[in-house]
Each structure stands twice: as C-alpha cells, then as structure tokens.
Subunit: 461 residues, 2 copies
Amino acid sequence: MLSKSTYLNRRLTLKTKLGGGLLLFLGNEESGMNYRDNVYSFRQDSTFLYYFGIDQASLTAVIDLDNDQEILFGDELTIDDIVWTGPKEAISEKAAKVGVTEVKPASALGSLLKDALSKGQTVHFLPPYRGEHYLKLQEWLHINPAEATQKASVSFIKAVVSMRSYKTEEEVAEIEKAVDTSVDMHLSFMRETRAGMTEKEIAGKLQSIAIGQGGDISYPIILTVNGEILHTHARDLAIRDGQMALCDAGAETAMHYCGDLTRTIPVGNAFTTIQKEMYQIVLDAQEAAIAACKPGILFKDVHKLASTKLVEGMKQMGVVKGDVAEAIEHDVHTLFFQCGLGHMMGLDVHDMENLGEQYVGYTDDLIKGTAFGWKSLRLGRALEPGFVLTVEPGLYLIPTLIDRWKAENKLAQFINYEKLELFRDFTGIRIEDNLLITETGNRLLGKELVKSVADVEGLRG
Amino acid sequence: MLSKSTYLNRRLTLKTKLGGGLLLFLGNEESGMNYRDNVYSFRQDSTFLYYFGIDQASLTAVIDLDNDQEILFGDELTIDDIVWTGPKEAISEKAAKVGVTEVKPASALGSLLKDALSKGQTVHFLPPYRGEHYLKLQEWLHINPAEATQKASVSFIKAVVSMRSYKTEEEVAEIEKAVDTSVDMHLSFMRETRAGMTEKEIAGKLQSIAIGQGGDISYPIILTVNGEILHTHARDLAIRDGQMALCDAGAETAMHYCGDLTRTIPVGNAFTTIQKEMYQIVLDAQEAAIAACKPGILFKDVHKLASTKLVEGMKQMGVVKGDVAEAIEHDVHTLFFQCGLGHMMGLDVHDMENLGEQYVGYTDDLIKGTAFGWKSLRLGRALEPGFVLTVEPGLYLIPTLIDRWKAENKLAQFINYEKLELFRDFTGIRIEDNLLITETGNRLLGKELVKSVADVEGLRG
Ligand SMILES: [Mn+2]
Ligand SMILES: [Mn+2]
C-alpha cells in the first residue's frame, strides 16, 4: 500500500475529471478452480488497487460525485471467522489507511444503487472481465450481460487511462522492484537451463523465485523451444542441445506492479552460426527501437522502425529481396514479426488492457489498425514522459504461415520462397526489456540483464 | 486421458442410473486474473474430466437420454488461430479418443437446449461454482442465478457421486502418482527448511516441484509457523528456531488426480519436549484412526475415535480433566480439534465438494451435523472398498477460541483453564496421509513419508 495522501490525491484528481454521477469500482472475488473453496491465488482488480489500495476479496467502492461521498462496501470478519483465519486487520482500518472513512456492509450496496438509479443518477462502471462482474452488474444495475461491455462508461475509462498511464516516482520504484525480481528469474533461466530438463521444470523453478520474493508471476510463463508459437504453455518436453529456449517471464510485487522480460538462449553452450546471425538481427532491431523511444514519437513509428530493421536483416539473410521501405509498406515484415513491438506496463502487465486497447494505446485521432500484424500492436500513440512500456521485437518462423503465404505466392516480389524454406524450422527469437519514458528520452528499468551474443553465451559456459 | 472404453463405460453406467432427460456437462472456461487474456492456469471441471476426459477450455457436453445422443460442443481452431497457437489436435480427434463421435460448434448448443425445453425435456445440471456457470445456465436455461444451486438436479448429483466415489485400479494408480509427487514436495520441505527462510520462499519451492513433475499444486499450499490458523496463506515471514512449521501441500497429476499430505516439523534440528509430547498425541490419534478405517465403519465414528485419543492426550498433559468419554459427548475436543478428520479425495482434493457435502460425505439416513466441530466434518458415512480419503487429525491452540471459552467458563468441569494458559501460544500440529479402503481394511497410498518423532528429527539433522 502507498501513502494515504497518494490515494486521496488520486481520487481527488479523478473526481475533477468526471463531472457527476456515481463511480462504481468492482473489486474482485476469490475465484474457485474446481469448487468454490479451492481458490486460485487472489488477484485484486488493478483499478481498484490504484484508487483504493486494498488487496482483499469481496469489496466494492463507490464514489458519489453528486453527493460528495466515498464509501467502501464489504463485510468484516465475525468472531466465528477469526477462529479459522486468525485475527486480521479490519476493513475499516485498511480503509482509514487509504483515506476512506465510510465503510458499510456489502448488503447495503444494492439499495444504495437502487436509490441512485431511481433518482436518475448516472452510474459509471468499467468493462467487466470476470463472470462475477457480469453477475453483479446485472443484479445491481439490471445490465444484460450481453450488453455490459458496450454500456461501460467511456468517460470513466478515459479518466482512469489519463491517470494510470503516467507513472509517478513511487510507482516506477515499485515497477523496478518487479523488474529486478524478473531479472533474477531470467538469470536463473540463463545460467541453469540444461539439455534434458523439461520446459515445465524450468518454468516451475522461475515461478518459485517470483513467489519467494514476496509476489508471484505477473502472467503465465512462456518457456519454450518453439518461440515461434506466440500463445504457448511450458510442456513436459525435454529440451535439447542445438535448440534455442525462449523465456518470456515476469514477476509482480506484493503490491502488484509488474515486470515483463524475454530472453532467448542456446540450450547448449553457444548459438549455432545461423542462430547467432538471426539473434543479432533481433537485438539490433531492439536497440534501434529503444534508442528511438522518447516523448512525441508515435510508438507506431517505433514499431515500423523495428520492423524495418528486421526486414533489413532478413534481406541480409537472403530471404527478403527488393526495396526494404517498399517491402514494409506491403507489410512483408508480418511474415516474421506478426505481433506488436510492445505495450504499456504497470499494475497490469498489459496495462489497463481490460479498459480497451483503443483507449489505452491509441487516441481519438489515432485508431488502431485492423490489418494482420498491425491489429496486434497494443500501443501506437505518441509517447509521453511517465509512460512505462515494453520493447520486444522478435523473429518468428511459423510453418503454417509460411505455407499459407507460399501457397498464395504472396508478395513474391519481396520474398525468396526457396531460401525461406531453409528457415522453416528455425523457430523463434524475442528480446524484451522494460523502459520508462523520461523528459528527454528513456531509461531502462531494473537491474541489468545481459543480451549481447557474447554475454549470453558467457552465462551458458 | 484414460482409455476410450473407460469413458464409454462410465457414460453407459451413468445413463442406466438416470431414466430420462438431458444431462448438461459444463466444461470450464479460461479464467482471467486482471484482464480477460491474462489467465490463471486452466482447470477443467472434474466431472467433465471424469466422463469426457478432455482437458480444454470452452467445451460443453450433452447426453440426451431420451434420444440416445452424446454431443460435444466447442469451436475448432481456425487457420488464423493456428498461426498463434501452433497446430493442435482437433476437438473431434480428442472426442474420438473418448468415444464421442458427434462434435458441433458452440453456437449450436443454445438452439438444442431451447428445443429440449420446448419439448418438455428435463435438463439436468450440476451445481454451479464459477461465475461463468451461472451466466450459461441463465442464457441457455433461463435459470435465475440466485436459484441456480437449488435447481441443480439431485438425481444427476447422486448418480455422479455413486460413481466417482469408487476409485478403479487405474484411478488409484493415478492418485498414487499424485501422492508420490506430494511426498517429494514434503521431503524437500522436511529436509531443506531452515530458520531464516520465509514461508513464501518454501511454498514457492514446493509448487515448483509439483509443476516440474508435469502437474501443479492441487490446492493453495498451507506453509506456516501458525498451524493453528486453519485458513492461512504463506507469508513473507522468516521462520525461526524453536517454532514448528506445518506444511499442508499436495500435487495433482497432469490428469488432475490429487494428493494431500501434511507434516509438521521443528524449524530447528529437534522438537522441544512439549512439542514432542503434543506431536506424539497427534500421531497416536492418526495411527489409531488409520487402523480403524475399513469397510462398514462410519467415518464419523473414526473421527470420534481420533477425537478421543486427542482428548486422552490432553488429559495426560493436564489440560483436560474428568471422564474422557463424557468429555467427548460434550464436544470438549472441539477446543483443540475444530475441523474434520478427513475427506474424500480424487479428481478434486476435496472430492466432489462442488456437488454438496451432504451428498458426498453423508447419506439420506445420515445427515451432516450442525454443531461446532461436527459441521466441519466433510465425511461421515460408512466406508466402502474403493473410497480414497485423507486422515488428518491435529491439535490447534487458537488464542481467540481459548479466550472465548474461558470467558464463558465453558465446560469447566472438563478443562483446567489455568493449565491451558501454558499452551496458549503453542500453535498447531497436523499429520495427514491418504488411504484407499480395501475389501478388508485400508492401504496407505504413495511412497512412504516418515512421521515418527525420531524419523522426522532424523531428516532435520
Ligand atoms: Mn510483453
Ligand atoms: Mn486434507
């Protein structure tokens, strides 16, 4: 939890951004796996954490702008509960620490909202993403679940995004803690990975580091020798010499700020020649992209810059031919680089993704693309001081995609399909770091984590 | 996945138990933590796994008894999806492996159920436990979420319980795999725990063992120096010499069969004298309880036997006085042993808990108790060959509860409250093993995990 004044100030600013009505903040519930009481690790809603800071299930907060009230709804433990849970800090004590003085039982919320609706107050809520959110919105506001997302308040969303996008010093410090733990996870991966281990075994080890440092993983770990598969889980598969292992893993702190790093290493002691060349292409693209990140530049253009570097590299490899700028205009890069260069990061690893990518990563004047490749770019808008984001180019050789393009002879003026066949089973490489946009440029967050070919191989000795 | 004939036979048996209507099996969805796509580790519904074996999100199955049909509903990956996920086995292929030949798109389910309702077919469903279950039942069957639990089909519940309660040889083999992994977790705990480590650090390590062996934890690990707090999470708290550490942790296999073991160890090399005496009381109670488990005995009576042993021990310690049998009739044991002696275990660690404890652990003629202590006993019914269950007595010195009883001078004829004060901060001990009821008695499952004072201290050397 941050200081009381932080939360008071955040809510004050939010209130000035929204003229009137009632703001509804749905805290998350415990979430049962295979029955109600066998729960996943609790994760509070990030916007709830941002304005109210209380990391506990079954809370709802209301800011009534028309009547200048802030109320937290939740049930205190009974003496019977305390026998099972041990003594715990009361909700009212936690509320006091974040400057909220009014705490009411959960059952009081329904009638408050009923009153508000009957008086014609607008009730603003954010887009739901858990089943329980839909059920609550239906019960309290009579919102049909099928319409809940479209009925979310755009002014509330925009106000939240306009605040959470700019990280304060204390937030950056907490994010750096998360990145530092993420670095420790990657150091373990880079030093201790050996042929014969399974992907799951390595992933489990990395998660234990995140938990051991007081938090948890900020997203499911991607740990794979098939880095070209972008949505994948660690498998019971022994990794082998000659392969590369890609690890995309990050920690979140106890306060739920996130880190998100990726490294790709040889399973053996050293990269093969071709792995080394391809790795260097990705690293050059990443370093060029990072160097370009500064206030005012469209991240969309940084994505294009990285894509250009990747295509230049693939031209060197003989796979792309013709004019590179023209190739980029034709989206040739999407054959190797199908996803986005990066995303905002904060209390969520894809920060505020639940609020809508158009609102978070774009603006009223800059609409998110719909073409293959571009539609996966979560962040396109001009960078500003205080933004924290990832830069994560990659080269992904996807047999299914190669076959499809080849069958269509797609963009054959730019692609040497015969040469491409040699890379069919190359798999994938990604390198990802986290950075803060400063007044003049940017700063890499967290402890250093090596990434040059020589340094990576140095850790594999 | 087990063999095709296993699933075919299970469904055949289920069908003979239910006369008519349509059986609806809700598979689970991916579950978002802080936004939709940042998902918890997927956990399929256990009853879905039992009859259909497919460990994949967003599936629903229907058995139409009136028209003799078995249909699986779910959407195959599109070619676009395969670019992101890599090639995967089709639902229809998985369905074939469990003997289901009819697979339809998810969108076809709504109209099928609408037809069924309009024809007056009874649609049987099981009690919901995730938000999504309520939303689906509402959308497809117009069930008000507030009424969904009470509208669940009792005949369907009883039929499922009458099958899942009896573990076959192949299920027992899979449970033993889970217990073996759980033993490995506990060996790590018992050998490697050292003063100065944090509870979270140790818990993280144990989870990595479960993941590394191809599955995951079967429930959130309890790892604490406050074993008397029954609902607790590992903390960022360094453990100290002189304390005891209690670890209640189990793995589930890739097929989702569970293990559930508890051991309590000294943080230092050896128990203190008083810890040793109290530990021995719990161990004696556990061994007496295990020896009593055989077909025909009410588990309720085994719970009473264990409670008697615990009270006898506390009498030796000078805390209980008077006639032990009489003390038990007055529930004196609930001052030290507030929870149940054990529970069924299988595809769920508390097996079938989502179907209702009355149906799983009791019978039409044996109703679950409501008094303090007894209401926490999940299993009371007569044991039968094929049941797999836990036996887990403990001694829990809960300051809040002690204060409350003392203030009321409750059962003062049996309790030496002055002496009890000496144990106020003793914390708690639990010892838990998993066993299979056989034709003649029972068999402990999994590799041996030591539990005598001497053997435990031997591992702490
Ligand atoms: Mn990322
Ligand atoms: Mn148990």
